[in-house]
Subunit: 248 residues, 2 copies
DNA sequence: GAGCGGCATTGATGTAAATCAAAGGTTGAG
DNA sequence: CTCAACCTTTGATTTACATCAATGCCGCTC
């Protein structure tokens, strides 16, 4: 099924027609953020040998809910939306994966959500069985995975508060503040603007709102001089307002 | 700070004035459901030696968000609500812990939520540092904890769909179906009624609704002959209706 | 640079659930 | 048994957000 340590994924498409071995992990710019930060140089090079680069075009699907999880991924560039859909078309986005985020924490055979590339995406891909065997032998990697999982759980609980108890305005403010923090962490320094590569519909599906409400609230904030809308994102004008209004 | 393996918790109250060593784990009725099912007899007896029974009266607090997490708990009897509160009093209940559930998966020093006893509660308590050391040395216990964490994460995502995208009627139906499944698992067999030891306000705070809406929807379901309200719970009349309406 | 397709915005209207406001029930103390 | 405290239920009214319906605004392709 594969040769020379390179393997293919049944549902791979887009720019992903061929694979190259992973770039050198030692120079990986998001390593400090990722599960790999738990590893020493020897382990890192072992992991590197069993990894492959994967690229996904904007709008392509990394994997679908219910698909068998042959691979796990470390996102190295771009943004992925994690989606749960109801049979009648209603969607809830449970999260956006940014560089450094790991997809495949669960130890189950099948994916519990669909992952779609919001922008062009690059990821470090591992064959699941190999990765699991490795983490079985490396307690600090397993521990790191567990830390990631419990951190995600805490974020999920924050998001429950947001979905269940915040107003539309508070939801948008919380989302923007969170995105600002996350991008700052990924980029390593504060940017003037807050990147919003996802569309208004995605934001709506993440916050449990409609696209019209998201548009209205953001534009009202602009009229109220709280922010300015710029290409590919927004810029805070009144940062205090946002810190005060973001509760989750 | 403690003697003969028995330790005290700074915030322990209620019926918890003194401790006895844990009951015999071999006869623990919820072991098959708990993290302990990963352990062999030797490990179990080691764990038993480092555990203590804890009891909490109805309405008492097991621990508060931000408190330092000195202990971790395995719930053996009763129901605990896990609460996140906003400064203005709005509450979101992120989950109800039933027998077999574990509190303390996170590896962080402080609790990320408040835990309150809905009924009288019994729990198997471990000193956190001891438990962590033990799981560090026992990969399959760590793995089991990780399985619990990722399972919780998946449930949290289900709950996000519920909070963000379901109607009040769908939320109630989903809640009832879930409680039925969970109690059946805990009791080991199907009961005629679905126990609802928590009050209407708790259900509302779990589903992101108000108490009035919860009351109205449940009573409307009764008028529509979908269920009957009984002391301490409800009974399904039209189980098909619920299976069909519960989406998360 | 005309036309098209895919978002985003804006306005008018509708509605599910919140809020406000009383009653009813149930429990337990005295 | 009576009373009080605390839930829960029910009804009337309001409202935040959804829905329905255009219109505007790019960035493509040809």
């Amino acid at each position: 099924m594969d040769n020379s340590g390179v393997f293919t994924e049944p549902h791979a498409h887009g720019a992903c027609g061929h694979h190259v071995l992973g770039d050198d992990c030692r120079f990986c710019s998001i390593r400090r953020l990722s599960v790999c930060s738990a590893l020493d140089p020897d382990e890192l090079s072992f992991l590197e040998d069993m990894s492959g680069d994967a690229a996904f075009e904007e709008k392509s699907t990394l994997f679908r809910q219910e698909d068998e999880a042959f691979s796990v991924y470390n996102i190295t560039a771009g943004v992925v939306r994690l989606v749960r859909s109801l049979s009648d078309g209603r969607r809830q986005i449970t999260g956006f994966a940014l560089p450094g985020d790991f997809l495949g924490l669960a130890l189950e055979k099948s994916w519990k959500f669909t992952a779609e590339a919001v922008t062009d995406v690059k990821a470090c891909r591992f064959k699941r069985s190999t990765f699991d065997d490795f983490s079985e032998k490396k307690p600090h990697l397993m521990r790191r995975m567990h830390e990631f999982a419990t951190h995600e759980l805490s974020l999920a609980q924050d998001h429950m508060v947001l979905l269940g108890r915040l107003t539309a305005e508070e939801k948008i403010a919380s989302f923007l503040v969170t995105m600002k923090r996350r991008w700052t962490r990924v980029e390593g320094h504060e940017l003037g603007l807050i990147r919003l590569p996802m569309g208004r519909q995605d934001i709506a599906d993440y916050l449990g709102l409609t696209i019209e409400t998201v548009s209205r609230v953001i534009n009202q904030m602009q009229r109220d001089r709280k922010l300015v809308i710029v290409p590919d994102g927004i810029r805070f004008v009144d940062a205090d307002y946002f810190e005060h209004r973001a509760l989750a």
